[in-house]
């Protein structure tokens, strides 16, 4: 019943499709950060029913740092075991999927994102251009979490890279 209208970072922006590859803002719901206190990871793991290894996603848990993960959704009660912080509004989610997704992001991330090297359920804390981000490999593409205030820049960078690749493929002789 809030009387205030909630807006996502790129509210109203239509998806962009080029060369069969689509960039769109994704609605992923609440994000909760869970950071285990020293020596408490095993207990946290028990409560959460698991904890992702570095650079992996497991179910709705995304590894985000040393003994730290994002829960997509609400976290159970972890008092005394972990710092639990609502991160929902802080991130914009972009989804890039389609045949040029990896090539596009390899213009921006200094990472090997080819499917064989960055398969589904892999994640990385890595820079998108100059911006901190969390990158997650999905079935047909990637989910990119970026600080909300930089969502427009992230969109612009990805759009430019995709436009460039599209221009390249239509220029091939």
């Amino acid at each position: 019943m809030p009387n205030l209208i909630a807006k996502s970072a790129l509210f109203g922006r239509a998806p962009l499709t080029l060369s069969g590859t689509t960039l769109a803002e994704a609605q992923i719901g609440p994000i909760t950060s869970v950071a285990a206190f020293r020596g408490k990871l095993a207990k946290v793991k028990k409560v959460l029913g698991g904890f992702p290894a570095p650079n992996t996603v497991s179910g709705n848990l995304i590894w985000t740092g040393p003994e730290q993960a994002f829960v997509l959704g609400q976290a159970p009660d972890l008092s005394g075991l972990a710092a639990v912080t609502d991160q929902t509004g802080g991130w914009a989610a972009l989804r890039l999927s389609g045949p040029l997704a990896a090539d596009t992001l390899m213009r921006l991330y200094p990472l090997d994102l080819r499917a064989a090297h960055f398969p589904k359920d892999t994640c990385a804390r890595a820079p998108l251009g100059h911006m901190q981000s969390i990158l997650i490999a999905e079935e047909t593409g990637f989910l990119i979490l970026i600080f909300r205030s930089m969502a427009r820049t992230a969109w612009h960078e990805i759009e430019t890279a995709l436009q460039t690749l599209t221009a390249r493929s239509s220029a091939e002789i």
Binding site: L4, A6, G90, M150, A167, A171
Partner: protein, 969 residues
């Protein structure tokens, strides 16, 4: 002249282009050089210093002469090598370094003045008087220097950058590179094969050998079919960096008309587990008098033009060589029906059996032909000769292209038997040289070395591979007798691009520049766009001879990246316009723009500067109104950019006590405290307020500017000094939209929106509240000196709350205020920002020395107590009020009245200024020696930049409401 039945050009696809405004045609697959040659254009450029007429010397990226400008839409690419540039329909190229035209170049007068322009000319002539340098000499030199011109406009074309990864990077696709790629690819390794040329195959496409294009095509067909292989034509690896990182430049749009979003070039960063250097070798010229006329070229270049492009460089060809290998060129030209007038072999013991006259013990000593070669003369075993010829091929042997192997400062090894430098293993970790780049010049040995290098490289990655069966190829011995320069009195060119002759190098030696690095700088040899690829070895051989040392002892100059020139546009790809830095937008952004607020960059953030009302024509009018509005009614400002760090854990309080100078463990839940943070060296790092949300839960705020720096600092302190403490923290800057609501009517405004009214909400407290049905955090803090609150909602609701706050504020006679008003009010109150805490400021300096708690340790405490960081000799923060209504500016310096205005008398400087509409005065915050003891005194403020010189009264930095009555109201 075009030859039928030869070349890998597509004769079904004619291409038209212009050179110096004249239209020509060629074929798809031609370079500008081959197309000009097909049209019998021989004169293509002017040399750098003497403006000598020049033609085409090579058939590759090492070309020192045939450099042109290519104009394409809005782009202009200077110093484009005609031997690399592929033609396309509508391409416009023009020669450079000439005026008014290529044939009649007025600066060719320099050629007649040559005796005065020898090595070191600039150093000797433009020495003194010193004052002439900037005014006279430098502009003259700059006008004459350089080849291509810059457009002097902002580059709007698109460039791309990209990352790539592989197990094995193969640099070059000649016989060694192809065989290496094939070996590794068959073994399942992830391979990138990079080739600077538009076609893969290297010399196999141009040397007319038995293996040739069919084998190349078959091999490429196999490689293309493999998913683990990436072929990158038109991609020059330009540098070898640490941990297997290679830089490469790909020509993407340079060989076709510009198209939207099509990048001109792509700058690649390739990370390779191992790499193979299969860059081949460059044929070297021989220095003899007038060896630079159009029509004189390398023998291997002529082979390329014949076999790759189906053109021949002349009708009556001669060859001057010191090795067996070069004779292929003569033989193949004869087979193609071209007359070869003579082979002039410098060796006495070489074979003289060819289908043309062969002269042994020969030396070309001069050439004729103003704009193109007509005749050569010299001596041979039979005496003097003169031969009419329009094309002289030369070959002084081969230099392995060792450059990339030397990019990490290791030096190549001199091999006497081939008179050339070769790489040594391990010069770049993980880089293996193979084939001609390694001094193995025959095709057969290149194939073998390529396969072996791949096996070796894969072994280093823990993978096994077997060398494929090698095809049969030429394996003839090389047989060379070094010849660097033909003795003579005239000018014999070593460095064509920079017009450096044998004489220049000898002069350098004579004048004491005997080290190869000194010779290089004195003569400029090797400093042109080709970076000495055609001349380095010959020049140092001449130097070695002149100094009586061997070549090995003389050594080489340093090989540096990039291997070939890289445009700044490519290196900076992605950095133009919006790509330069992220742009951070607050949730209120659109609402502020809707109200006409000019946005100002604050760090990466865009914040409203002020909110103009109708009738206001200057920022000051808006700013003054906003200040008075806040001080008399209520104002709303978006302060979401402040850093917010959520800190939790049983040791959170202890941790804050350690990073802040003051104590937070004693802060009651529900309260807020101002905190000061020092660097370990005792200087102020940042300040801000921290709220205790729960027993083990704090919310720290940082300044906008230092948010990232503070996070890094907290991470360091935690991980380095107390990793076992039970504390975790995370940025929540972006999770909350936060708005300052300040002014006497602030509470009234909030109560209009809060779901439960607040009554008694004391200064420096906070609470969870509900605003329009949304859970929010409310803080009673003030950066304006007024009764002030900050209300934070989850970011998604930020825009809606901001718009509602403004609408309600306006009904109360209030409204939005921007950065300008915010700044005025904080100066009126003497609140600091990073203008004051700029890195050289201690807690003592800003009057907060007492905030460094005596009872506990904290970061920076020990160092802050060092001598010199406190005391009357320090510049301390004060307020300044000019005695007249003179505008003052930050950066001005302070002097005692009566002192001479000079550095030694400096008493301090101004950090922040504003016009206070409340006090009707300019105000300044400044740092003044022993300032706190000087309140009430006068100092002289001098600003040479703004031409201000005014007396000011020194005051307390808090100009308004020093007791804080309004703040606590």
């Amino acid at each position: 002249m075009r030859i039928a039945g030869k070349g890998l050009i597509d004769r079904t696809k004619p291409v038209t282009f212009t050179f110096d405004g004249k239209a020509y045609s060629g074929f798809q697959g031609d370079t500008l050089a081959s197309a000009l040659m097909a049209n019998d254009v021989r004169l293509v450029g002017r040399s750098f210093k003497y403006h000598r007429p020049r033609g085409i010397l090579t058939a590759g990226p090492e070309e020192p002469n045939a450099m042109v400008e290519v104009l394409d839409g809005g782009s202009q690419s200077p110093n484009t090598r005609a031997t690399v540039q592929e033609i396309y329909d509508g391409m416009a190229a023009q020669s450079q370094n000439r005026w008014p035209s290529l044939r009649y170049d007025l600066l060719s007068i320099n050629d007649l003045a040559a005796p005065f322009l020898s090595a070191g000319f600039y150093y000797k002539t433009f020495m003194w008087p010193r004052a002439f340098w900037e005014a006279l000499y430098e502009p003259i030199i700059r006008r004459a220097a350089g080849l291509g011109r810059l457009k002097r406009q902002i580059e709007t074309a698109s460039y791309e950058k990209a990352f790539a990864f592989c197990d094995l990077l193969v640099i070059g696709s000649g016989p060694a590179g192809l065989m290496a790629a094939l070996t590794a690819a068959r073994a399942g390794a992830d391979v990138i094969l990079a080739e600077q040329d538009s076609l893969m195959g290297g010399r196999l496409l141009s040397d007319g050998g038995t293996l040739g294009a069919p084998w190349v095509e078959a091999t490429l067909t196999e490689l293309r079919a493999l998913p683990n292989v990436r072929l990158m034509p038109r991609t020059t690896v330009v540098g070898a960096y640490d941990q297997g990182t290679y830089a490469a430049l790909e020509r993407v749009g340079l060989h076709r008309p510009a198209a939207p979003h099509l990048p001109r070039e792509c700058f690649w960063r390739i990370v390779a587990g191992q790499a193979i250097l299969a860059t081949g070798a460059l044929e070297r010229p021989i220095a003899f008098e007038n060896n630079d006329r159009p029509g004189i070229m390398l023998a291997s270049a002529a082979l390329s033009y014949l076999n790759r492009f189906g053109v021949v460089p002349g009708q009556k060809v001669t060859l001057f060589a010191n090795n067996d290998n070069a004779r292929h060129a003569a033989r193949q030209l004869m087979a193609a029906g071209v007359q070869v007038a003579a082979i002039l072999d410098s060796r006495a013991d070489a074979s003289s059996v060819e289908d043309c006259p062969v002269y042994l013990n020969a030396a070309v000593t001069d050439t004729q032909g103003r704009h193109g070669l007509t005749q050569i003369s010299g001596t041979h075993a039979g005496g003097a000769f003169q031969i009419d010829t329009d094309c002289l091929l030369m070959s002084g042997g081969w230099n392995p292209l060792v450059n990339i192997a030397c990019h990490q400062n290791a030096r190549p090894l001199w091999r006497e038997d081939i008179a050339a430098f070769v790489p040594q293993s391990g010069m770049v970790p993980g880089l293996h040289a193979a084939g001609a780049a390694n001094g193995a010049f025959s095709t057969q040995s290149a194939l073998r070395e390529g396969a072996d290098a791949a096996v070796q490289a894969l072994a280093a990655l823990g993978r096994s591979a077997t060398a494929p069966d090698l095809p049969q190829a030429e394996d003839a011995p090389y047989r060379l007798q070094p010849l660097w320069a033909v003795p003579g009195k005239g000018r014999a060119w070593l460095d064509f691009a920079n017009d450096v002759t044998v004489k220049d190098v000898k002069l350098a030696a004579q004048e004491g520049y005997t080290s190869v690095e000194h010779m290089k700088r004195y003569t400029t040899q090797g400093m042109a766009p080709d970076q000495g690829k055609n001349s380095n070895v010959s020049a140092l051989a001449v130097l070695a001879d002149a100094t009586g040392r061997g070549i090995a002892e003389t050594g080489t100059t340093t090989f540096r990246a990039p291997f070939t020139p890289v445009s700044v546009g490519a290196m900076g790809a992605g950095g133009q316009g919006a790509g330069f830095a992220p742009q951070r937008y607050m949730t209120s952004d659109q609402a502020s723009r809707d109200r006409g607020a000019p946005m100002v960059e604050a760090g990466l953030w865009y914040r409203p500067s002020y909110f103009p009302k109708p009738g206001e024509t200057t920022w000051r009018q808006s700013c003054d109104r906003e200040v008075l509005m806040v001080r008399s009614a209520v104002g709303v400002a978006d302060v979401s950019t402040l850093g917010k760090i959520d800190i939790q854990g049983p040791d959170a309080a202890r941790f804050l006590d350690f990073v802040y100078t003051n104590t937070f463990s004693t802060l009651p839940v529900g309260r807020v405290r101002y905190g000061l943070m020092l660097r370990e060296d005792g200087f102020v790092l940042d300040d801000g307020t921290t709220a205790r949300l729960g027993e083990n839960h704090y919310l720290m705020t940082t300044t906008t500017a230092a948010a990232g720096q503070v996070m890094r600092h907290l991470d360091f302190v935690h991980q380095a000094y107390c990793p076992t403490w039970q504390v975790r923290f995370i940025s929540v800057t972006e999770s909350w939209a936060q708005f300052a609501v300040a002014g006497p009517l602030a509470k009234m405004l909030l109560n209009a929106l809060l779901d439960e009214r607040i009554e008694d909400f004391p200064f420096m407290t906070h609470a969870e509240v509900s605003v329009e049905g949304v859970k929010a955090r409310l803080f009673r803090i003030s950066f304006s000196g007024e009764e002030g609150y900050e209300i934070a909602v989850p970011t998604a609701y930020g825009e809606a709350l901001f718009r509602d706050l403004l609408a309600k504020a306006e009904t109360l006679g209030g409204g939005a205020y921007g950065m300008e008003a915010l700044n005025v009010m904080r100066i009126e109150k003497g609140f600091i920002t990073h203008a004051e805490i700029h890195g050289r400021i201690t807690a003592f300096d800003i009057g907060l020395g007492k905030m460094v708690a005596a009872k506990k340790d904290c970061i920076g405490k020990a160092a802050s107590q060092r001598p010199g960081l406190h005391g009357p000799e320090r510049e301390q923060m004060v307020g300044l009020r000019p005695l007249t209504k003179t505008e003052i500016g930050a950066g001005a310096h302070l002097f005692n009245t009566g002192d001479k205005v000079e550095r030694v008398n400096d008493q301090g400087y101004v950090t922040s200024v504003c016009w206070s509409p409340v006090l009707e005065s300019y105000l300044g915050l400044a740092f003044l020696k022993d300032g706190r003891a000087r309140h009430g005194q006068r100092v002289r403020l001098v600003d040479h930049m703004r031409k201000t010189d005014v007396l000011c009264e020194v005051t307390d930095p808090v100009f308004l409401d020093p007791e804080g009555a309004k703040l606590r109201a």
